[in-house]
């Protein structure tokens, strides 16, 4: 659980308190805290004068608006056909090995979450993954090891 401090209010000020602001506000919270806590959703509901169910219903529709606790770095490996033909499994195995977690899990220090996702538009440079919003393409075991080591040291 995290304290949103003034973030929700700041986001409401930035985007406005109308219904169209709901998703940008939720995106802003995820950008900072990596997922939406129950408290954060209730707070957004109050600020926008919506029911909490409405906020939860909207958030839970979108796979990037996570409602489960996520690590600081969310790794999303593409599992669609070209990436799976071009070595997605090795990428996953390397990540699981390095992070000591399985797909869907978060490291105990809260730093990394490993997920799979559908086509992210890098089929010509498969296999690919996103770490938060940064794409990494044409992955090999060596490349993955190097990338993750860099993040571990951050």
């Amino acid at each position: 659980m995290y304290q949103t401090d003034n973030l929700v209010k700041e986001l409401v000020e930035l985007h406005g308190a109308g219904r169209t602001s709901l998703i940008p506000i939720l995106q802003g919270i995820v950008e900072k805290y990596n997922y939406l806590s129950d408290d954060a959703m209730v707070e957004v509901a109050k600020e926008l004068d919506l029911s909490a169910a409405e906020v939860y219903g909207t958030a839970s529709f979108y796979s990037f608006l996570d409602i489960k606790p996520r690590g600081k770095y969310v790794i999303r490996v593409c599992k669609t056909i070209t990436c799976s033909m071009k070595g997605k499994m090795e990428v996953i195995e390397t990540l699981e090995d390095m992070l000591k977690i399985k797909v869907g899990e978060t490291t105990s220090n809260g730093k990394f979450t490993l997920l799979e996702t559908n086509c992210m538009g890098w089929c010509h440079k498969a296999p690919a993954m996103l770490i938060n919003e940064i794409p990494y393409t044409e992955l090999t075991t060596e490349k993955v090891v190097k990338i993750i080591k860099d993040y571990m040291h951050q």
Binding site: R19, F61, K79, C119
Partner: protein, 386 residues
């Protein structure tokens, strides 16, 4: 049969002076622009292939003063990556197409709905948009564009789901009619076009509809950006004149061992080797939003089909029963056949289910699952069973 050679063109990514084109469009005015778009014969590049001129004409005819232009940059179809490349390299042409559309229909606001996976492009795009706004102000346009980011839902590429998402709701498709040109974003008349379609508008205004129509075929005018991936030595983005056959495509891009091409992504059709020569890629044959995936003989088409079904089962918005349950049943069904728990004849039942989904699903997602399902099962039945 006459074989055409693959003709590569360079219109989408070619650098041009946008001001010149936008001044020309401004002077042409609503009727002039719409006439050029109609004469060009251009059809939507997002997959469905609706004539763009007609769409703009319908929207222009609506008396409502508040209208919107929406650029669909959700690009979620497996195997397409051209819209990102277009936005990355020539965003000013995408904005330009939106301004031209706005001038044609009388809109003052536009939105670009960019998929969340492309968020890393935002800083650059916002800077370029700033420069663009300054330029159109000088010419005299009264038009503003805003970005909206998606959050990882393929269904939000469906136009009415996209409107719901911009409005801050779950991305659940609406019933049609009414169509967006009458009742779209915020219930107002809206033109929604794919990124590449909008760039085509710039090309048409710049070079004129006659020159545009001289490319491609009678039913598929112009050129198209193809996203080529899979078993190919040269994966990437190519702008090709429309009208080629699948055989010509495979000769150019295949690795010499192609057994199937999936045209149009997971929602598209699987063309097997025996049909390469007779299949035209375009609106008169197999249409595509640009996704072209090649599979060679080392690939299991069961894995391909399973991957697509898994995709659809996950991405179905769950709003209507045929699609919500159908996608799950197709997935479980082929797994059961593969494991030998169900007889191979069960595939015929699944094909019927896919047909039922085609006629009873609410939106294009559920309606198109049968395209890939039936074309793969029909052509690669043994691979699915054994």
């Amino acid at each position: 049969m006459e074989t055409r050679k693959i003709t590569k063109v360079d219109l989408i990514f070619e650098h041009i002076d946008p001001r010149e084109v936008l001044v020309k469009a401004y002077k042409l005015g609503s009727e002039g622009i719409i006439q050029e778009m109609l004469d060009s014969g251009v059809k939507g590049r997002g997959g469905a292939g609706f004539p763009t001129g007609m769409k703009w004409k319908f929207c222009a005819a609506e008396p409502e003063p508040e209208k919107y232009i929406v650029c669909n940059a959700d690009e979620g179809e497996p195997g397409t990556f051209k819209d990102r490349e277009i936005l990355d390299r020539v965003s000013y042409k995408v904005f330009g197409g939106m301004a031209i559309a706005a001038r044609a229909v009388g809109a003052r606001r536009g939105y670009v709905y960019l998929r969340g996976e492309y968020k890393f492009l935002m800083p650059q795009l916002l800077m370029e948009l700033d420069g663009f706004h300054k330029m159109i102000d000088e010419i005299g346009y009264d038009f503003r564009i805003e970005f909206k980011l998606g959050s990882g839902a393929y269904i939000c590429g469906e136009e009415s789901a996209l409107f719901e998402s911009i409005e801050g709701k779950r991305g659940e498709p609406r019933n049609k009619p009414p169509y967006p040109t009458k009742c779209g974003l915020f219930g107002k008349p809206t033109v929604v076009n794919n990124v590449e379609t909008l760039v085509n508008a710039v090309i048409i205004i710049k070079y004129g509809s006659e020159k545009y129509r001289s490319m491609g075929t009678q039913f598929s005018t112009g050129a198209k950006v193809f996203s080529v991936s899979g078993d190919t030595p040269t994966p990437g983005i190519y702008e090709l004149e429309l009208g080629m056959t699948c055989l010509e495509f495979v000769k150019e891009f295949g690795d010499g061992d192609a057994k199937a091409v999936q045209v149009g992504g997971a929602a598209g059709f699987c063309v097997p080797r025996k049909a390469f020569a007779k299949t035209i890629i375009g609106f008169e044959g197999v249409p595509t939003g640009g996704s072209m995936k090649l599979f060679n003989s080392s690939r299991s088409m069961y894995n391909v089909l399973h991957n697509y079904l898994d995709f659809f089962a996950e991405e179905s918005c769950g709003q209507c029963t045929p699609c919500r349950i159908g996608t799950q049943q197709l997935l479980r069904g082929v797994e059961a056949v593969k494991r030998g728990e169900m007889k191979s004849a069960y595939l015929n039942e699944l094909v019927k289910l896919a047909e039922t989904m085609k006629i009873s699903s609410k939106c294009g997602l559920g309606q198109s699952v049968g395209n890939a399902f039936n074309s793969i099962v029909e052509n690669f039945r043994e691979e699915i069973i054994y």
